[in-house]
């Protein structure tokens, strides 16, 4: 076993800190949860994002679409403060993060969960220690941490895998552990980076059901990067049915809408925004590039 991450434990002389849970007060008041203003970033000489501006309100799900290499994952990392833009302003829960020292960002990230493209599980820790990583860091008592890990693993339908190492899991299971790790602290914002990338259709549906469940049961604000149109439209046209534990197509309402109104779309191309709006606006867009992308 690798010793890179030798212990899952907390810093031994750390002060006891409170980890957010279901009862915590979400930060940022009633303003947008995520707000980008004129954000630009260049890697070496190649501009990746140019003057990106958008905002995401509380309980909204923003699906970020676009061709490969258009800066979708970069945008997600910018939202989590993992990289800093060259210019512009990014506010998360109303707090400017582009100038915030990383040590202050660590506290803010207690309210943010992220699912990485390749899961990014700690390969030297077992499933339980991976999922409980944040709880251990915050010195949550072991008994409570174990209970919350079991709840999170039950949510992603992975009970009985606590002692397994990430290398013993399939790609879909790793992605589900990653979701469990992201939701363990009941975050107010979840960032999904291509959660179904590289997975077979059945596993992808399972992952989409989990994302939908988190949206419809916990009403968590989320940003989901994907290049799979079918995933984006499943999220927009289905809802999670708690009674059956499966997703169901949304029936038409009085206004003739059969889409989830809290799910919106942002389309990127060549570093700029080509579309930002709801599902119906996207479907009826007359923009030739969007039409071609959707066809």
């Amino acid at each position: 076993m690798s010793e890179a991450l030798s212990s899952p434990g907390a810093p031994q002389d750390a002060p006891l800190a409170a980890i957010p849970d279901a009862t915590h007060e979400p930060p940022g008041g009633d303003g947008p949860v995520v707000e980008f203003k004129d954000v630009s970033i260049t890697f070496e000489v190649k501009p990746i994002l140019k003057n990106i501006s958008f905002s995401v309100d509380r309980a909204e799900t923003l699906v970020i679409l676009g061709p490969a290499g258009c800066g979708k994952s970069v945008l997600l990392k910018l939202a989590d403060g993992l990289i800093r833009p060259d210019s512009g302003s990014i506010k998360i829960f109303g707090q400017e993060i582009t100038t915030m020292p990383e040590r202050d960002q660590f506290k803010l990230r207690a309210y943010i969960g992220i699912v990485f493209q390749e899961s990014a599980l700690f390969d030297s820790l077992n499933v339980e220690d991976n999922v409980a990583f944040r709880l251990h860091e915050e010195q949550v008592p072991e008994e409570e941490a174990h209970k919350r890990v079991l709840e999170a693993l039950k949510f992603v339908d992975l009970e009985g895998t606590s002692d397994k190492l990430p290398s013993e899991l399939s790609g879909g299971m790793r992605r589900r552990v990653s979701i469990a790790r992201a939701i363990i602290s009941n975050p107010d914002l979840i960032l999904y980076d291509s959660p179904t990338g590289g997975l077979d259709p059945i596993t992808s549906t399972t992952i989409m059901e989990l994302i939908m469940k988190q949206r419809d049961v916990s009403h968590t604000t989320s940003l989901m990067v994907t290049h799979r149109l079918q995933d984006a439209f499943i999220l927009a046209t289905h809802r999670y049915d708690s009674a059956t534990g499966c997703m169901k197509a949304i029936p038409k309402d009085a206004n003739g809408h059969n889409v989830d109104q809290s799910t919106r779309f942002l389309m990127l191309n060549e570093g700029g925004i080509v579309f930002h709006g709801n599902t119906e606006e996207l479907i009826h867009s007359e923009d030739p590039w969007i039409k071609e992308y959707l066809s």
Partner: protein, 259 residues
């Protein structure tokens, strides 16, 4: 293949020095301020210290053996073979013990740190750690720095001791020297300044090995090929730094304690 622009090359090197300075500055600041991951520190001490014992013992022992063989042969010509013990002890304690231990640990541990952290970097585990609210410098770098500095100090003492013992073995069994003469001359030739000089160097070497190894690990890009490159660079750079700093520390120590 086009030649790299000198301007870009210089910019890259200056940026690397800046990044290394920021990393070492953060690590130093975190060492002297809590919280600390003591469990990780002890795990690293076991890996770096106990795990490196066999190579340090073998290197130290055979260095003492060959040093004794070479010097006794030369000293015999001048009728000064009784001075072999002093020569071996001085060489081992002042120079060869600290430098060879540093170089061996660099080869074993700077590469290990660069590859471990490099693998974590390319699989986004370090980003995941930051996203989960944990400072990777405090969690990954600081325990390695503390463990390397402490363990290199003790490994150097072991290397010095087995080097002198190896020298004794060769002097007595092959060169026919009296064991009491060898040990007495070894003991008599070492003064306080030699011990201080010999035990100051591993503190610097330990710091160099850990910070250079972690720096190249945390700056790894380019997948598995990048991990391999980071590992090689970590060993090369830390070995060169160890020898340069050895010279500087020797110069300072000699000016303080004299010859």
């Amino acid at each position: 293949m086009p030649l790299p622009s000198p301007e870009n090359w210089i910019k890259q090197k200056v940026a690397a020095v800046q990044d290394y300075s920021i990393l070492t500055g953060s690590a130093l600041s975190d060492i002297f301020s809590g919280p600390h991951y003591w469990a990780d520190v002890f795990t690293q001490m076991d890996s770096i210290g106990v795990g490196s014992m066999p190579i340090v013992v073998l290197t130290g022992f055979f260095t003492g053996c060959v040093l004794s063989l070479q010097s006794a042969t030369a000293l015999k010509e001048f009728g000064a073979i009784s001075k072999t013990g002093g020569l071996v002890a001085l060489s081992m304690v002042r120079e060869l013990g600290p430098v060879l231990t540093g170089l061996m640990i660099s080869g074993r541990n700077a590469s290990g740190m660069a590859s471990e952290l490099g693998s974590m970097k390319v699989t986004e585990q370090i980003d995941a750690m930051r996203a989960l609210g944990t400072d990777p410098v405090r969690k990954l770098v600081v325990p390695r720095v503390i463990a390397s500095v402490i363990m290199l100090f003790f490994l150097t003492i072991i290397s010095d001791a087995v080097g002198i013992a190896g020298g004794a073995l060769v002097s007595v069994n092959l060169m026919g020297l009296n064991p009491q003469t060898y040990l007495a001359d070894s003991y008599r030739s070492l003064v306080y300044g030699d011990i201080v000089q010999g035990l100051t160097k591993p503190l610097f070497s330990g710091f160099i090995i850990s910070t250079v190894g972690c720096y190249f690990g945390m700056k790894t890009t380019g997948g598995t090929q990048g991990v391999g490159r980071a590992t090689t660079q970590a060993v090369v750079v830390s070995s060169v730094f160890i020898i340069i700093v050895d010279f500087l520390v020797s110069r300072v120590m000699l000016s303080i304690f004299g010859n």
